[in-house]
């Protein structure tokens, strides 16, 4: 984890601290506005103000620590792969109710396996067909849990 040998500091944690602080202030503002000045101890408006105020304080502390000379920093990562996975997930969720569970999950499995570096298309295809179908049949027939059937006449 440590990058002690590398004096260059990445801005990530500082930006994160600033974002957290800004979000905290915005939420605190929302909470105070919603309370309309009525912060009764036993009422529903006190807790939001307290929690968001704590958010602001902790976020500020985090930001201050990040501004000091860095002791340890997160290791560098590739953002492209998780972004690809996230894109596949979004597609899956959108397609779920239209194309149905089996079809959307099958496409999703192949796509995500590719993004995650799989180069065995045949293996992935077999998994992509068998797994969703088995899960669908198990859940809908054995466990009586509803899953969208979609385009397949199941």
């Amino acid at each position: 984890m440590s990058t002690a040998t590398e004096p260059v500091r990445r801005p990530g944690p500082v930006i994160l601290g600033a974002v957290l602080l800004t979000a905290g202030i915005a939420l605190l503002w929302t909470a105070i506005r919603a309370s309309g000045g009525d912060l009764g101890l036993a009422g529903p408006r006190l807790a939001p103000v307290l929690v968001t105020a704590a958010w602001v304080v902790v976020a500020a502390a985090y930001l201050v620590i990040q501004l000091r000379p860095a002791t340890e920093q997160p290791e560098p990562i590739r953002v492209s792969t998780p972004a690809g996975v996230a894109a596949c997930l979004a597609g899956f969720a959108v397609a779920l109710e239209y194309a149905g569970f089996v079809v959307s999950a099958a496409v999703f499995v192949v796509a995500v396996a590719r993004v995650l570096g799989s180069r065995h298309l045949v293996r992935d295809l077999v998994v992509a067909v068998v797994l969703p179908l088995a899960v669908y049949l198990c859940f809908t027939r054995l466990l009586d849990i509803f899953l969208p059937a979609g385009v397949l006449p199941l």
């Binding site: 957290l20 939420l27 036993a42 408006r45 929690v51 995650l116």
Partner: protein, 517 residues
């Protein structure tokens, strides 16, 4: 003895063929999912929650959960030993020595001492749980709202202080969890909070959505970002028939004391609000290391370093059940998930549970004994199956996990919007892992937050708005004082060093325990 009568009744329930089947399914499913790299018990239970939605029998479900939990822990230790990727932080200590043993061709002995140690610790600590549960529950009936408020606060703060590497980051996680808990309609007055004008958020943020998002989606995204940094090579088991190569006489001699010591450390730490099994497993490891005559063997595969932490890990689970069942207060992420599972069945753990559904409680406790036995008889013989599971190619494995995560959220909520919410929380979880924020405090904040607020307001209603109600009773004041103290615990080594006149920089900056997930 009343306890034994109740317990026998529990056994009477559990030992029916139907419930034994539930227990066996739970143990097998739990081991299967627990063996998968990167998946701990909390996520295992969360992913398997949908399986139980259609069961209308809470007893069967909880017997299954107990099996899933034990199985997941056992599976986690298999992964630690053979692959050196602990699925949960409580297995980290096991991974240190266990993987070294596997590298030196003693994988079977490591697996065996872990399994037998888990069985011994599980059985002893379940016995302790049977003895302690009812007295604690009876004591808990005298607790008032202000006491519950103080207890929930203590559990939250203590776990946050002990888990993770930085108190500030832990508190940030906690505050985030508390915020998520606020979203939705206020239970007492029906007023909407932080719904930002949407209908979707009125019902609040479902615990299952958060757990699946943070653990499954977040973990997978994190793995995706670090492809190539992960150990892929599974240590093979030694050849030979299924009967050979387990523990030698010498292994038994070296293991039994660490098992008992691990149990002795694990149970009390599990019962205290200290974040479950992380602290006791590391304590056990450190103790065995200091105590061992062959100290230079540590780091190269000392069997004591597997036996002790594994026993502590298992014992801590029964310990965690004491506050969970008797007070309704979870002290680890996994316990929080269990509590969520209870709530799905409209069961509120706490002192009333023992009065209202004693058959459920005692069946659950009895099923812990049964689950332990089942694990021992099912798992060592089946070890080659679990090794095969470990060898599932990573891309396919994570694709499957994501499918199950999506399925779980969709089945729990019936809404694609909630699936998107889980994904969004997953992205947050990815960021938390990347920037080293602990996950467990989010879950605890989410679960304990509403309890905290409810009891706070209840206490004030009872006392007519008099804030001194939180300090006028010694019990309440003491618990609150402990909560404040807990914030200082991580800095104790530094304080001690300074008192001894040493430069604090030479000491570790904070007591570090890995995270429970």
């Amino acid at each position: 003895m009343n306890v034994f009568g109740d317990l026998l009744g529990g056994f009477g329930t559990v030992l029916s063929p139907e419930y034994l089947l539930y227990a066996a399914i739970g143990v097998t499913l739990g081991t299967f999912v627990g063996v998968l790299p990167g998946i701990g018990p909390a996520l295992t239970i969360a992913l398997l929650l949908p399986v139980t939605f259609s069961l209308d029998d809470p007893i069967g479900t909880f017997i299954m959960f107990a099996g899933i939990y034990y199985g997941a822990m056992y599976g986690g230790s298999t992964t630690s030993i053979l692959l050196n990727t602990p699925g949960e932080s409580a297995s980290v200590a096991t991974a240190i020595e266990g993987h070294q043993m596997a590298r030196r061709g003693r994988a079977k002995a490591a697996l065996a001492t872990a399994a037998v140690g888990s069985f011994v610790a599980g059985t002893i600590s379940t016995l302790l749980l049977s003895l302690f549960a009812q007295p604690v529950a009876r004591l808990a009936t005298t607790f008032r709202a202000a006491d519950y408020f103080a207890l929930a606060l203590l559990a939250m703060v203590a776990v946050t202080a002990l888990v993770g590497r930085s108190l500030v980051r832990g508190l940030m996680s906690l505050v985030f969890g508390l915020f998520l808990a606020l979203v939705g309609i206020d239970g007492l007055t029906g007023q909407a909070r932080f719904t930002f004008g949407t209908m979707e958020l009125l019902e609040g943020v479902d615990v299952v959505v958060v757990i699946v998002g943070l653990f499954a989606i977040g973990e997978t995204l994190y793995v995706a970002a670090r492809l190539g940094h992960l150990p892929e090579h599974v240590r093979p088991l030694e050849p030979g028939s299924a009967r050979d190569g387990w523990m030698t006489r010498d292994d038994w001699r070296r293991s039994w004391r660490p098992w008992l010591r691990g149990t002795a450390v694990g149970f009390p730490f599990g019962a205290l609000p200290s974040g479950g099994a992380d602290v006791p497993t590391f304590l056990s490891y450190t103790y065995e290391k200091h105590r061992a005559k062959n100290r230079d063997e540590f780091g190269k595969g000392a069997i004591e370093g597997v036996a002790g932490p594994e026993a502590a890990n298992n014992a801590a689970f029964s310990g965690v059940l004491v506050p969970l069942l008797t007070l309704g207060i979870p002290t680890s992420a996994t316990a929080a998930v269990m509590l969520a599972a209870f709530q799905i069945f409209n069961l509120q753990p706490g002192p009333q549970l023992f009065d209202n559904s004693p058959e459920l409680v005692w069946a659950l406790i009895a099923s812990l004994y049964v689950g332990n036995v089942l694990l021992l008889v099912l798992n060592l013989p089946l070890i080659r199956v679990w090794v095969k599971v470990l060898q599932i190619p990573r891309p396919v494995l994570y694709a499957g996990i994501l499918v199950f995560a999506t399925l779980g959220v969709y089945a729990a909520t019936g809404s694609v919007n909630q699936v998107f919410l889980a994904y969004a929380i997953g992205v947050v979880g990815f960021g938390m892992r990347h920037f080293d924020f602990p996950i467990a405090p989010v879950i605890l904040g989410l679960i304990l937050g509403p309890m905290l607020e409810l009891q706070f307001r209840r206490a004030l209603l009872v006392s007519n708005g008099d804030l001194t109600t939180f300090v006028s009773r010694p019990l309440t004041a003491g618990l609150l004082a402990l909560a404040v103290l807990a914030l200082a615990v991580p800095y104790l080594p530094r304080v001690v060093a300074r008192l001894r006149g040493r430069r604090p920089e030479e000491e570790p900056r904070k007591l570090v325990f890995a995270e429970d997930d």
